[in-house]
């Protein structure tokens, strides 16, 4: 770490602007309105200012002579170039913020999401929306359900094609199947399974390490090469589960972000494509999944799915040799977290939702 990175890390930061203030400033600036007078520092009198200006000009002229001779010797070597504020650095700051976030108290941990998928059906694009919930209770209860909400043609071209086809009813949507209005999203008894062979109890999950290296070592204690040949892929799956769908502590989730960022083939992006409303830092996997994180809090905003990349991987070292991604890298599905955290309210599955709760 060089001096500049130390300064950036150690010196106090500022909280983000409030949305109200930001909006007011934006309106004022974009309309070109003058600002109310800010606190102005005292200025030197015009007489002294003039003296300083002339003296400054003379000194600057003299300095130019000195500097010209020195420039060639002082041009930095390539390895001295300062590091930019990289997406990884932004991720590290977001992770530190998450690690420092105190958790709310509650008897149940619950995560509510909106699931959106855009698929080409009968010749036109259809957008399916559903709500999903996953919750864990104090007596080893687990709740999970997926409830379809709507299915509509997506975009003007799709809407015209759908009308030409006679405006057929699109499913799955609310009311499409009265016998199965909602169903569990997962095998409930395996809800805490993070990867093959890694099935912690809730207590073990809550006690996972909060430092990336230690977390990696603890997770790998459960790795069995006989079951999953590629260790890093297994590790990626475990870390992905930790950050997206279980009640790990904020510090463990923060460590899992940093662990994920080092998995071969995972890239950190600070510009997330698509129009699902996910705006943040993304950890992008080779399989096209993006984990999107709020840079201000480090909390998970959601995940979205792009077409998978084609990767060439060294079979001996597991190192990614090259990656090519389809040029139209537009996400076609997303899970947008609407609420996550601890609560005292017992989750209630929707009416008609069968096998949507169980015990671990």
């Amino acid at each position: 770490m060089n001096e500049f990175q130390v300064i950036d890390s150690v010196m106090p930061d500022v909280p983000p602007a409030s949305p109200e203030r930001l909006a007011a400033t934006r309106d004022r600036v974009l309309s070109g309105q003058a600002l109310p007078p800010a606190v102005q520092p005292r200025r030197a009198s015009s007489r002294w200012a003039g003296w300083w200006a002339w003296t400054g000009t003379a000194l600057a002229a003299a300095a130019v002579v000195l500097v010209i001779g020195a420039v060639a010797a002082l041009i930095p070597r390539a390895d001295e170039q300062p590091a930019a504020v990289t997406p990884l650095r932004k991720l590290q700051v977001a992770a530190a913020r998450l690690a420092a976030t105190p958790e709310a108290k509650g008897r149940y941990w619950r995560q509510d999401s909106e699931r959106v998928v855009r698929l080409k059906g009968d010749g036109y694009l259809v957008e399916e929306r559903a709500v999903e919930s996953l919750a864990f209770g104090p007596s080893q209860e687990v709740y999970s359900w997926h409830e379809p909400v709507s299915a509509k043609p997506y975009g003007e071209a799709a809407r015209k094609a759908w009308k030409r086809a006679g405006s057929p009813r699109l499913c799955p949507a609310r009311g499409c199947d009265p016998n199965l209005p909602a169903y569990p999203t997962t095998d409930l008894r395996r809800s805490l399974t993070l990867a093959d062979g890694l099935e912690p109890t809730l207590t073990e999950l809550r006690n996972l390490p909060d430092e990336p290296g230690a977390l990696r070592a603890r997770l790998l204690e459960s790795y069995d090469p006989g079951r999953t040949p590629r260790r890093e892929e297994w590790l990626e799956r475990a870390a992905f589960s930790l950050v997206t769908r279980v009640p790990a502590t904020p510090a463990t989730r923060a460590a899992a972000y940093l662990l994920l960022a080092k998995v071969p083939g995972v890239t950190v992006l600070d510009r997330v494509p698509g129009d699902f409303g996910l705006r943040g830092i993304a950890l992008q996997s080779l399989n096209g999944t993006q984990v999107v994180i709020d840079p201000a809090t480090g909390e998970l905003l959601g995940t979205q799915q792009l077409p998978p990349a084609q990767a060439t991987i060294d079979p001996l070292t597991g190192k990614v040799l090259s990656v090519s991604r389809p040029p139209d890298g537009v996400p076609y599905a997303a899970t947008i977290v609407t609420k996550a955290g601890w609560t005292d309210l017992r989750p209630v599955p929707p009416p008609g939702c069968r096998k949507c709760s169980a015990r671990l």
């Binding site: 770490m1 300064i7 300062p82």
Partner: protein
């Protein structure tokens, strides 16, 4: 062109928060809020003069912001000296900061503030554009309208002074 409809809005949305943060890390936040807005107001009024062929938008904005900070140099130095005496202010997301400290370096903010106060204004501008803005040497040169060699020499001198603190 930055004068095209909607482009300046995009510039504001993309860069306002980082410029505000840069100023806010150098001056008190209430002053920083005003100066960040003033930076963009100046940029808005001068947007027809910005030539993208000659440089990027970020260094241009950082340059305007740094010039405005220049009007408050004494306040900035007073702030560092106060921090050096008493540690960082209480509203600085201190817990977050302590974790970053622990993760990254065994350097205390108060000692670093003292070292920043001892830099010359030119050295401090260059160092903080690199540290907080992540600008490259060329971008700093474009922001401050100085030669890249001058940037290098200021950084070299500043690094020597800072190493006493950063190790």
């Amino acid at each position: 062109m930055i004068t095209a409809p909607g482009v300046f809005e995009a510039v504001f949305d993309a860069h306002f928060e980082e410029i505000r943060r840069y100023i806010g890390r150098r001056l008190d936040l209430d002053v920083a809020e005003d100066l960040a807005a003033e930076t963009f107001l100046i940029a808005f009024r001068q947007r027809d003069r910005f030539d993208s062929a000659l440089g990027e938008v970020r260094p241009w904005l950082y340059g305007i912001a740094t010039n405005l900070i220049g009007r408050h140099r004494r306040a900035e130095v007073r702030r560092y000296r106060a921090m050096a005496r008493s540690g960082p202010p209480p509203d600085d997301e201190g817990h977050d900061q302590r974790i970053v400290d622990r993760l990254t370096a065994d350097v205390r903010a108060d000692r670093l503030a003292g070292a920043l106060a001892r830099l010359s204004p030119g050295e401090r501008d260059v160092v903080l554009l690199v540290a907080y803005g992540g600008l490259t040497y060329d971008e700093v040169a474009a922001a401050l309208k100085i030669a890249t060699g001058t940037v290098a020499s200021r950084l070299s001198r500043a690094r020597t002074k800072l190493r006493e603190v950063t190790g």
